[in-house]
C-alpha cells in the first residue's frame, strides 16, 4: 500500500501539467478559471477540438479510436492536473465519459467508426436523454416512445415524448435517448437506447432557468423525431442494461478531477476566511478542518477504489461515493456563505450572476439531486451494498 505515484507516473504528470498550463497562459487564457458549464460555450467547443488535436481529448480510450490507452493512474493524474491548471469543465464530458465508453462496450464496429472519431476530435458534443417529467428517481418508468417505421422505403426509429434535465442540450450535436420501444411494456423491460442527431425539426429544446439564474439544463421535446435504424446501441429491449452499464462509467476516474475542482473551491473559502478575519473564529476553524478532512478522505477513498484489483470487494464501497461528495459539497456551500457573511448575498455585476462561492452555495443544491438523489443513493447502498430487503414497489 502506497500513498503516491511512481516516478514514471509523476513524469506523465509534469508533461500533462506543462501542456495544460501553456494553453491556459496562451491561446485559451480567456476561458481559464470559468467554473460553470455554460459560460463562453463557443470557446469551450474550440477547446474540446484543441484537446482532440493534441491527443488529450480522451486519453483513456484505445489508441485505435483516438485515445492513448492511458492507465487508470494516468487518467487520474490528467484529471487532477486539468482542474489544478484552472481549465474549465469539459462541455463534452457526456461524450467522452459516457457516450464513448458505451459505444466502445456495446456498439458495433460500424457504430464505433461512425461516432467515435467525432467525439475524440471534440467535434461531436453529446448530451444525455434519460430523465422525464414522470421518470425521475424512478428512471425505469420512461414513457418516451420509439417505434420502427418505414419512410420512403427506409427504416427509421421514430421517437415521440419528452426528456428533461438535459444538461447542455442547447450546445449539443447528438443525444442518446432511452425510449420505450415495446408497446405496453413496463419498467426496465422493453426499453431501447437510441443515438439521435439534435439538428432536426422533430427535436425542440427549451431552457430551464435554475435557482442560480443560469440555464445549464433543458427540456427536450421529440415530435416524430427520427434516427436511422442502425442508431440503436445493443438490441431492441436492451436499453436498460445499456443505460445501467453507462451509469457505472460515471463512477470512474473523473472523480479525482472533480475533487481537484473541489480543492480549488475550498482554497477559495480559506483565502476568503483569512481575508475577512473569520479564520480566527473557532467554529469556522472547526468547519474548515472538517471540510479539509472530508476532501482528503474523498481522495483516498477514490484512490482505494481505483487501485483495487479485486473490484467485487470494492463495489459496495463505491456505492457510497456519490452521497459522500454531494453532501460534502452542499456543506461546503453553506460554509462558504457563513465565511462570506452578507457580502456573499449581493453581487456587483449586472444581472443575476454570481461569483464562484455564492454560485457554489446555490448550485450544490443540485448535487444531492441529480444522478440519483441522496435518498435514492441510500436505497442503493442499503439494498445493493448491505443486502437489505427491497422497498416494496407500487403497481403504477
Amino acid at each position: 500500500m502506497k500513498l503516491g505515484f511512481s516516478p514514471a507516473e509523476e513524469a506523465f504528470r509534469t508533461e500533462a501539467a506543462d501542456w495544460l498550463n501553456t494553453q491556459m497562459a496562451g491561446p485559451f487564457k480567456d476561458i481559464k478559471g470559468i467554473t460553470t458549464l455554460t459560460e463562453k460555450a463557443e470557446r469551450r467547443k474550440e477547446w474540446e477540438q484543441h484537446l482532440g488535436e493534441h491527443g488529450w481529448g480522451c486519453i483513456g480510450w484505445p489508441k485505435a479510436w483516438g485515445g492513448r490507452d492511458a492507465t487508470i493512474a494516468q487518467q487520474v493524474i490528467f484529471a487532477e492536473e486539468y482542474a489544478r491548471a484552472g481549465v474549465p469543465g469539459r462541455v463534452n464530458h457526456i461524450g467522452i465519459e459516457l457516450a464513448g465508453p458505451t459505444i466502445l462496450t456495446f456498439g458495433t464496429e460500424a457504430q464505433k467508426a461512425r461516432f467515435l472519431p467525432g467525439i475524440a476530435k471534440g467535434q461531436t458534443i453529446f448530451c444525455q436523454g434519460f430523465s422525464e417529467p414522470g421518470a425521475g428517481s424512478d428512471l425505469a418508468s420512461v414513457r418516451t416512445k420509439g417505434r420502427l417505421e418505414t419512410i420512403d422505403g427506409v427504416k427509421y426509429w421514430v421517437v415521440n415524448g419528452q426528456k428533461i434535465w438535459t444538461s447542455l442540450a442547447h450546445i449539443s450535436d447528438w443525444i442518446f435517448v432511452v425510449t420505450r420501444t415495446e408497446e405496453g411494456s413496463r419498467g426496465p423491460k422493453g426499453l431501447s437506447f437510441l443515438m439521435m442527431d439534435m439538428a432536426q425539426p422533430g427535436i425542440e429544446i427549451r431552457p430551464i432557468q435554475q435557482i442560480n439564474g443560469d440555464a445549464e439544463f433543458n427540456e427536450t421535446f421529440f415530435t416524430d423525431a427520427r434516427c436511422a435504424e442502425d442508431s440503436i446501441i445493443g438490441a431492441p429491449g436492451e436499453g436498460w442494461k445499456i443505460a445501467m452499464g453507462l451509469l457505472a462509467f460515471e463512477r470512474g476516474v473523473s472523480t479525482l478531477g472533480q475533487q481537484m475542482a473541489f480543492r480549488n473551491e475550498l482554497d477559495e473559502i480559506i483565502a476568503a476566511a483569512k481575508r475577512n478575519g473569520s479564520a480566527a473564529d473557532p467554529l469556522i476553524r472547526q468547519r474548515i478542518a472538517k471540510a479539509e478532512i472530508g476532501l482528503r478522505l474523498m481522495r483516498y477513498g477514490a484512490l482505494r477504489m481505483l487501485s483495487n484489483r479485486d473490484h467485487s470487494r470494492m463495489d459496495g464501497a463505491a456505492l457510497t461515493y456519490k452521497i459522500q461528495w454531494a453532501s460534502w459539497r452542499r456543506n461546503l456551500g453553506e460554509l462558504a456563505m457563513d465565511v462570506l457573511g452578507q457580502a456573499g448575498e449581493v453581487t456587483g455585476g449586472d444581472g443575476y450572476r454570481w461569483g464562484t462561492l455564492p454560485n457554489l452555495f446555490l448550485y450544490a443544491r443540485a448535487d444531492t439531486i441529480y444522478g440519483g438523489t441522496n435518498q435514492i443513493q441510500r436505497n442503493l447502498i442499503a439494498e445493493r451494498g448491505l443486502g437489505l430487503p427491497r422497498e416494496p414497489r407500487g403497481d403504477a
Binding site: F5, K290, L297, T320, L386, G387
Partner: protein, 351 residues
C-alpha cells in the same frame, strides 16, 4: 498509484480477523470486564502464538518489523470484537521505548513487553512538578494502568520510565465506563523516573502509534456495529416485514456505511503516511483520530437505537461498542482539539 493492500497485508488482516473472531468472544470479554479488564490468555496468544505484538516495532529491537499499515490491520480486527487487551499501551509505550528509550531500557523492556510477559502503559494529562528526575503530582487516566508493569510518562521537557513498584507511586484504579480498557491515575510522591534518551522522538512515536491504534480500533468497531445491525434488520419482523425493508431504517444503515468507508480511507491514509514519513503525516493522523472516533460513536449509538429495547440491555453487546466508542473519542485528545490542529496547519494560528 497503488493504494491497495499487498498480499502480505491481506494475509495479516485475515489472520487477525480469524484469531479475534474465534477467541475474543463476548463471553470471554465479559469475564475480563468483570475482573481487571484484560483477557490474559488472549493477550498471551496474541503476543506469543501470533507474534502480533512486535508488528510495527523494528526487528533490531526484537519486533517483527513491518509498519503501521500492518499494525492497523491488527488493531482494526481487535476493535471489531472490542477485545479486552492492552493494545493501546503497545502502540504507545512500547513504541515510545523503541523510538526514544536508552539502549538499556530497550534491552530490559522491549522483549518482555512484546512477549506479553510485561504490560506497558502510557499516561495522559500530567499535573506534576519535577525536580530533576523526581516527579510529584499525578498523571491522569493511563489505559490499562491498573495492571501495567511499566509506565512511560511524559511532561514538559522529558519522558520517563516508571516501574509499577517504584517507591512513592500509588495507582488509583476507579471503575471505568468502558470496562474493556480501565483507566488508572498515577499518584506520585517524589517518584524517581528513569529518563528516556530521546523525549521528543518518544512522544512523536507514541502519538502516531496511539492515534492510529484508536482510529483503527474505531473502524473495526464501527463496522461491527453496522454488520450486527444489518443482520438484525434482516431477521426482525414488525408490521409483517423485516424492519430492514423500511426506508427510515435502512437509510440510517446506509449513512453508517458512508461514514465507515471514509473511516477506512482515513486509517490507512494515516498509517501509510507514517510508514512513508510523508509530509501529510500530521494532517492524516489528526484526521484519522477525530473522524474515526466520531464515526464509531455515531454507529454505536445508531446500533442501540436500531435494535430498540434489546440494544439498551446489559445482555446485548451494543453497550460494549457504545462505551468503547465514547472512550476512543476522548482518549489522546478529543476531536475538537485534533481539528484545531488541522486548522492551524491550513489556516495558521487563530488571531
Amino acid at each position: 498509484m497503488d493504494f491497495a493492500f499487498t498480499d502480505e497485508q491481506v494475509m495479516i488482516a485475515e489472520t487477525a480477523r480469524a484469531f479475534f473472531a474465534e477467541n475474543a468472544t463476548s463471553a470471554r470479554t465479559r469475564r475480563a470486564m468483570a475482573a481487571d479488564g484484560i483477557d490474559r490468555e488472549l493477550w498471551a496468544a496474541f503476543c506469543q502464538d501470533l507474534g502480533f505484538a512486535g508488528v510495527g516495532i523494528a526487528e533490531e529491537f526484537g519486533g517483527a518489523g513491518l509498519g503501521m499499515v500492518e499494525f492497523a490491520c491488527i488493531a482494526e480486527a481487535a476493535g471489531t470484537h472490542v477485545a479486552a487487551l492492552p493494545l493501546l499501551g503497545l502502540a504507545t509505550a512500547a513504541r515510545g521505548i523503541a523510538a526514544g528509550g536508552t539502549a538499556a531500557q530497550r534491552e530490559k523492556w522491549l522483549s518482555r513487553i512484546l512477549s506479553g510477559e510485561a504490560v506497558a502503559a502510557n499516561a495522559g494529562k500530567w499535573h506534576v512538578e519535577r525536580q530533576g528526575n523526581y516527579l510529584s503530582g499525578s498523571f491522569d487516566f493511563a489505559p490499562h494502568g491498573n495492571i501495567a508493569d511499566v509506565f512511560v510518562v511524559s511532561a514538559t521537557g522529558g519522558s520517563w520510565l516508571i516501574e509499577r513498584d517504584a517507591a512513592g507511586l500509588k495507582i488509583e484504579a476507579p471503575v471505568t465506563m468502558d470496562q474493556t480498557r480501565p483507566l488508572a491515575t498515577l499518584h506520585m510522591d517524589r517518584v524517581l523516573g528513569e529518563p528516556l534518551a530521546d523525549h521528543l522522538g518518544a512522544v512523536k512515536a507514541m502519538h502516531s502509534g496511539g492515534w492510529i491504534c484508536l482510529a483503527a480500533e474505531a473502524l473495526g468497531g464501527a463496522q461491527a456495529c453496522l454488520d450486527r445491525t444489518v443482520a438484525y434488520a434482516k431477521e426482525r419482523i414488525q408490521f409483517g416485514r423485516p424492519i430492514g425493508s423500511f426506508q427510515a431504517y435502512k437509510h440510517r444503515l446506509a449513512d453508517m456505511m458512508v461514514e465507515i468507508e471514509q473511516a477506512r480511507s482515513a486509517v490507512y491514509w494515516a498509517a501509510c503516511a507514517v510508514d512513508e514519513t510523508s509530509d501529510e503525516g500530521p494532517l492524516a493522523l489528526h484526521a484519522a483520530k477525530s473522524f474515526c472516533a466520531d464515526a464509531f460513536f455515531k454507529c454505536a449509538g445508531d446500533m442501540i437505537q436500531l435494535h430498540g429495547g434489546i440494544g439498551f440491555t446489559w445482555e446485548h453487546d451494543a453497550h460494549l461498542y457504545f462505551k468503547r466508542a465514547r472512550s476512543i473519542q476522548t482518549l489522546r485528545a478529543p476531536g475538537n482539539w485534533h481539528r484545531e490542529e488541522i486548522a492551524k496547519i491550513i489556516l495558521g494560528d487563530a488571531a
